[in-house]
């Protein structure tokens, strides 16, 4: 299974299928290309990803993940990480407010499962490295699987100690592993990793990056050989590895990675990281999209990553972690599967409707006479619908629409870190800046003031498609837009 399956091909729609068929280079015909959605990929793979919000863009509208911070020890230093940092208002990888023992993690996960029916995935993703601090990772997964057998287990690692644990990963049925790979050229690695700890000593410079690179490649190959789905995370660091990520993409794809997720560097002097303190900047949203577009050829990328906290709880766009801190979790907990089971039945039904609406939208789009692709931003609370008030949106989901169909391309966050004290105008300016390149915002409701400010900045905003399915609303807007343009020309 040495092929990368694109998120887009996980999503069942007519136009998507056509594009998937065009993008099949390197695919064996037995594993993709048939008519609809789940059939685009081997059934066993669809079964693995259909409820995983990080591995399936379609699933992330419905399902939630939670991370437990049980493995705080790490064996490498990255220039974008400062291990001392902790802030309850921050949302970015590696940040966490409380570290848990495996037994505490069990109580917390069961409490969440009883309250959050969308929960489908339990991940261990820092701070620290899940494979280095392996005993705690293993104990946590074993405890929780005993109570909630159907929860999907997922871990994230820098890869250095991964090869030592692949057999146990397979035995424990951990079928999703994320490796952070920022380079396949150790020379570039020297600008990202000041040191690693391996075989009882600290390595620096080129030696450190060579060892890390070799171990990452070995780990990836071992996972692929066992059929474990692998996601590669790469941090895009302008001027350091941005162009090199094309090569990283090529190499990880050839070694069987399932998904490639390019994440923007988050860099701020206040975080105390090496990059933050030395003024290394992160990429702008359009720079990130340009790289993703160059890499993707329409497939093979994860674009809906929210770079969540290491103790995040909930749908990808939200974090309910503060509702489940250990002081709020009961001493004795018992798992009650009712809510999760009911929710799954509802989702199965909703998904059917969602797919039907998409297909209808694609048919409408195909008849539009235009060749211009446009970016549309959507305010949503989840469930795949346009259902959030403009003013409540902390992020917008961005789709590209053309007669070929509607494709998810990413999200734009609008909340600034520690925003308190800013005026409303400053916030709206921030929103407008975040919406660079976007033609229209679809939301459940919007006031006249922000609508006029957006309009002055060349961005249309409308609640005409409130509560529609996202893709259906976008298709209708695009069709209307072109109908009105055609009238103007006539």
């Amino acid at each position: 299974m040495a092929q990368l399956v694109g998120l887009e091909t996980l999503m069942p729609t007519g136009a998507q299928d056509m594009r998937a068929a065009l993008d099949e280079q390197g695919c064996s015909s037995s594993s993709c290309g048939s008519s609809s959605g789940p059939d685009d990929m081997p059934a066993e793979i669809w079964e693995k990803v259909k409820d995983h919000p990080c591995y399936s863009e379609e699933a992330h509208h419905y399902f939630a993940r939670m991370h437990v911070a049980v493995a705080p020890a790490c064996n490498i230093q990255c220039n974008y990480c400062n291990r001392k940092y902790d802030c309850a208002n921050e949302s970015r990888p590696g940040v966490v407010s409380e570290k848990l023992t495996p037994a505490q993690a069990r109580r917390k996960v069961i409490s969440v499962a009883n309250e959050v029916p969308q929960l489908s995935v339990l991940g261990i993703a820092g701070p620290g490295d899940a494979c280095y601090d392996w005993r705690k990772t293993r104990e946590t997964f074993e405890l929780i699987s005993a109570d909630i057998p159907d929860i999907k287990l997922c871990l994230s690692t820098n890869g250095l100690m991964l090869p030592d644990h692949v057999d146990e990963i397979e035995r424990m049925n951990i079928d999703h592993v994320t490796i952070t790979i920022n380079m396949v050229d150790p020379e570039i690695g020297t600008k990202i990793y000041p040191w690693i700890f391996y075989q009882n000593r600290r390595w620096t410079g080129l030696d450190a990056s060579k060892i890390l690179h070799e171990r990452q490649m070995l780990g990836l190959e071992m996972l692929t050989a066992r059929g474990i789905l692998t996601k590669i995370n790469s941090v895009m660091i302008p001027g350091v590895n941005d162009e090199h990520l094309m090569e990283v993409n090529r190499v990880v794809k050839s070694k069987g990675a399932f998904l490639h997720n390019i994440m923007p560097l988050i860099s701020d002097p206040a975080h105390g990281t090496h990059y933050g303190l030395t003024g290394q900047r992160g990429p702008r949203a359009m720079e990130l999209k340009a790289l993703q577009d160059k890499l993707s050829d329409g497939t093979k990328l994860m674009r809906h990553c929210r770079q969540c906290r290491a103790d995040a709880v909930g749908l990808l766009g939200e974090d309910r972690g503060q509702e489940f801190t250990m002081d709020l979790v009961a001493d004795e907990v018992e798992y009650d599967p009712t809510k999760r089971e009911t929710y799954r039945e509802v989702v199965a039904e909703e998904r059917g409707q969602h797919i039907a609406a998409r297909q209808k939208g694609d048919v409408a789009l195909a008849s539009v006479e235009a060749d211009q692709a446009m970016l549309v931003a959507v305010a949503t609370k989840g469930g795949g619908r346009i259902n959030q008030h403009f003013g409540h949106a902390k992020e917008f989901q961005v789709y590209e629409v053309s007669p070929a169909g509607v494709t998810f391309v990413g999200h734009r966050k609008t909340d600034q870190y520690c925003e308190g004290g800013w005026g409303e105008d400053a916030t709206l300016d921030g929103v407008i800046e975040a919406l660079e390149g976007v033609r229209v915002v679809l939301c459940a409701k919007i006031g006249d003031c922000p609508r006029e400010s957006l309009s002055a900045a060349g961005i249309e905003a409308t609640d005409a498609f409130a509560h529609d399915w996202i893709e259906a609303g976008i298709s209708s807007w695009y069709a209307q837009e072109h109908a009105s343009q055609a009238r103007q020309i006539a």
Binding site: P72, A73, N75, Q77, K84, K99, G128, F197, N200, R201
Partner: protein
């Protein structure tokens, strides 16, 4: 002949406890401490003190 942890700088990640060949490092009241009676500075085990080599914060595991 022992190391100590500068607790004001420690992130309590536990990597040192994990690596110590003498089980000299334990968590006490949410802080890691090195038992000087057990610490050998890794002599006879490794070329360098493991706690200092793995610690993510510079100058935090230091000779007492």
């Amino acid at each position: 002949m022992a190391y100590k942890i500068i607790t004001s700088q420690c992130t309590v990640c536990g990597a040192c406890e994990f690596e110590c060949p003498n089980a000299a490092i334990t968590l006490k009241n949410d802080l890691y401490v090195i038992n000087p009676k057990k610490c050998t500075e890794c002599e006879g085990h490794f070329d360098v003190a493991q706690c200092a080599a793995v610690c993510p914060v510079p100058n935090t595991c230091v000779p007492a």
